[in-house]
Symmetry: C2
Subunit: 512 residues, 2 copies
């Protein structure tokens, strides 16, 4: 058996036994629909009645809720769909998965494609005495897409390759039970959501209009959207990237710590954007861990790794003692991004040793290309992207560090340059033309810190404890922050940060 | 040279050249102090003058701030104090560390104990022509405790063991520069903060009053407190525990994800404790990730690990698809806590297979011991501790699972028992008499979820998206949450959760 169930909404009419759709005139359509509905109702009642009369009724149907409330363990073993291959030939397996598609072929044959993670398997029901009844085929092919089912069946290996499923075996169904029914009408089909823009475009040129799921619809029904293979992949990569970062840093003597998220008074000396009431006391949400992570360094934790998640952004914050130069921090960035070699999505161009350019050199390159920027101001996104292109042309790398930023555009705790007060000991890391890391040497001298805070208009009272931390002996130190979503977005060459956040929230969206 | 500098505030007077303190009568004391102060001022001025005249002045002093602003890399290599041992004999090394203590012995000899992490090394300055001047000895021994210094010296191996330092070598100082000066008067000494209660008690019985640093003082000056070896250890253990948990779960196919912390409207269907304004929109802080982590499960991420840090508590949240029974979740807990074998602080008693008792059995044990508890209510902390003792006596384990809790005491999304609606498919894990994990099978049926939410008085509108997530086919699932600070507290048999949080915040404390 190697008939293929359809994978999109086209109707396949060529197979044996398929009933062609009844074509009725527009005038008769309404009446026909009414009749259709009535017919369906009658059929449903008849199916229920005939099921009761079916001696095979134990082998299919819906699992009662009670049976899913952790009744004593049955000892049954579920096989992962992704693992079922030719070596299982003639064996009976029990699999659990979602209905991807169903298709009846006449009344005696039914196809069900079952999905689990990124894997799909084609399951076949063929009417046979004492094994499969017509009612059972009807039950299976009437199941709604995305419903969960348990299928027990015998593995067979068809002669022709199976196009509509990842697993190149079929399951000859013996038992099929539904554990969770999806609504008949989903906001969109996973298959539609999984289609690429070029594929939609290509089909359109061939005269076929395929469904397109907008970003907004996807985010509204994110639990459906994240079922697509691409999103499953992004989530896995994100988890792996975070873990590789963590493992590398821990192997280098860093320790992971957590800092407070609710702070007394106003946040980090600046404006308190997020004020709230904590059991009668005014508090604010920490907007970064900057001050606390430096305080931890003053507590003799030489190398700190701070995972954080604040206001819809997952950050990995690193703070470390340095010996004498903030290039030590940049060296760590180099090593950390060795992981980029493992994900060769689009061939990423980079040399073994990361290119380092001063901010001044960057400005000069832009100037020569006709882009005017303030030499002591910051680069806007457009200028950053342009510089990324210029660097790629000149140096053949999409990954580089721009250092020695103008003093005026960095936070008050940034160490000034030793020989030029207009610049600072700071750097940004660029990846495919976008900033992914921002870092610097920090001021460890309390008097300089006070004068810096004052000239930035920060209320000294609000950062008193922070400044005090440097009065009991403070090490030279520096650090940086990485935006996890940005890194993954750029690794995978995605065009929108929302694609790398499981539940992206922004000014317009705070749900789901 | 094997003279020992003192480690506490007692004055050692027996060494050669030590000046005994001038004993003056009470009447003359005030005048003497005045003179003393004047003398110090004169001495300081004289020292500055003599330093200028000292041909060795390049070899000691304070590093200018400019020299710490990342001037071009010098190529010098710093050796970790903890690595300096006998194999370095006669070699010149450069180390950086904090002044633990200093002690002059007459005017020609000075001791400096330098600390780095948990390691200390004794450094010696002996006046010698063209090498060490009297001014240099004075500079070194006047440095305040906790200041940072760079010392270059030659490693020597004394005959007698060194009691006042971890490293059994001495450093014959050649160059000493201070990179950061601590205040002369610290809120408390690290040595005092590092002393154990039994040691203070023992000294008291021997007639000696040693300084005791209260928990409140410690937390007020947490950057000093976390410098003690015990706190350094706790921070390392915490980081390791989190990493082992993560690694184990990731190895089992879990993926780490992050959920939103700012939610529209009211939080999790309950009272919005933390309301705030997000650019003109009313939002609230997520108090748990429960709803989002279940939604992710509905998005076909079968096994999820959710690190979180909310309101001063670091949680590791786990949510997983189950096949049929929530014991599958409890089995995972068993495996996860295999890590307990690695930290044998106090001999922790546990069998290879974790003991599992029903809540009913627990209540019965308490009843037999004369403790009356509501059979369908929750256990209070006292009853939990008592039960912990009873279980230890009867079963010889300090680690066990209590399952099948009364339905009424668990959240609305908990799955009821299949055969007894008064109980639920839930469990708590106890460790040394305290709950460290709470878990359950969750309701995956949208209609049951609605009726449960309604009977708990939850506003359905506020959890609409959550309930909808189960309408597109939902897997059987369950999960649990672990409190990282609690686990570490109980692993290390500490008596206060504040000891395992770097910056503990609570109702009374929101700083530092």
């Amino acid at each position: 058996m190697s008939l293929q169930p359809e994978n999109n909404s086209k109707v396949a009419e060529e197979e044996e036994g398929a009933t062609p759709p009844t074509l009725s005139k527009k005038a008769a359509k309404k009446e026909a629909m009414k009749l259709e509905k009535l017919k369906h109702q009658q059929e449903a009642a008849a199916a229920a009645a005939s099921r009761e009369a079916d001696p095979l009724s134990e082998n299919y149907g819906e699992v009662s809720l009670q049976d899913m409330q952790s009744k004593p363990v049955s000892g049954r073993i579920w096989t992962e769909i992704g693992s079922v291959n030719e070596s299982f030939k003639d064996k009976t397996v029990l699999v659990r998965g979602r209905i991807q598609t169903t298709r009846p072929v006449g009344k005696n044959i039914g196809f069900v494609v079952l999905r689990d993670g990124g894997f799909t398997i084609q399951c076949v029901l063929t009417v046979a005495e004492n094994l499969i009844s017509r009612q059972m085929v009807k039950f299976a092919t009437s199941l709604t897409s995305e419903s969960f089912v348990d299928i027990e069946g015998i593995v067979s290996v068809p002669d022709a390759p199976i196009k509509g499923a990842t697993q190149q075996v079929e399951l000859q169904v013996r038992i099929i039970h539904c554990t969770s029914k999806a609504l008949p009408k989903l906001p969109f089909n996973i298959v539609d959501a999984a289609r690429s823009e070029p594929d939609i475009e290509k089909a359109l040129q061939a005269g076929e209009q395929l469904a397109h799921v907008t970003q907004d619809t996807r985010l509204n029904f994110r639990v459906l959207d994240i079922r697509t293979p691409a999103n499953q992949g992004i989530i896995s990569i994100q988890s792996q990237v975070e873990e590789k970062f963590r493992q590398y840093l821990l192997s280098k003597g860093f320790r992971g710590i957590h800092t407070p998220k609710l702070l007394a008074g106003s946040s980090e000396g600046g404006a308190s954007v997020f004020r709230l009431d904590y059991k009668g006391r005014p508090v604010c949400l920490a907007q970064s861990q900057q001050l606390h992570k430096q305080m931890v360094i003053c507590g003799d934790c030489k190398r700190r790794l701070h995972p954080r998640h604040l206001c819809e952004f997952t950050g990995l914050d690193v703070e470390m003692v340095i010996n004498e130069h903030y290039s030590e921090v940049m060296d760590l960035v180099d090593c950390l991004f060795a992981i980029r070699k493992q994900y060769p999505f689009e061939p990423l161009k980079y040399p073994r040793k990361t290119l380092r350019l001063t901010y001044e050199e960057g400005v000069q390159m832009l100037k020569e290309a006709g882009v005017e920027v303030q030499p002591l101001g910051d680069l806007n996104t457009e200028a950053e992207r342009k510089l990324g292109k210029l660097v790629l042309e000149k140096y053949g790398t999409e990954f580089y560090i721009l250092y020695q930023y103008p003093f005026a555009v960095r936070p008050f705790y940034t160490m000034p340059c030793y020989d030029n007060p207009e610049y600072s000991n700071s750097f940004d890391v660029f990846f495919r033309g976008e900033e992914i890391i921002s870092g610097a040497q920090r001021v460890h001298d309390p008097e300089l810190l006070i004068s810096r805070a004052q000239s930035c208009g920060i209320n000294l009272k609000s950062i008193e404890k922070y400044i005090d931390a440097f009065r009991y002996g403070a090490p030279l130190h520096g650090g940086f922050g990485v935006g996890l979503e940005r890194v993954v977005m750029l690794f995978c060459a995605l065009n929108n940060i929302r694609k790398t956040s499981v539940f992206p929230h922004d000014l317009k969206r705070l749900e789901p």
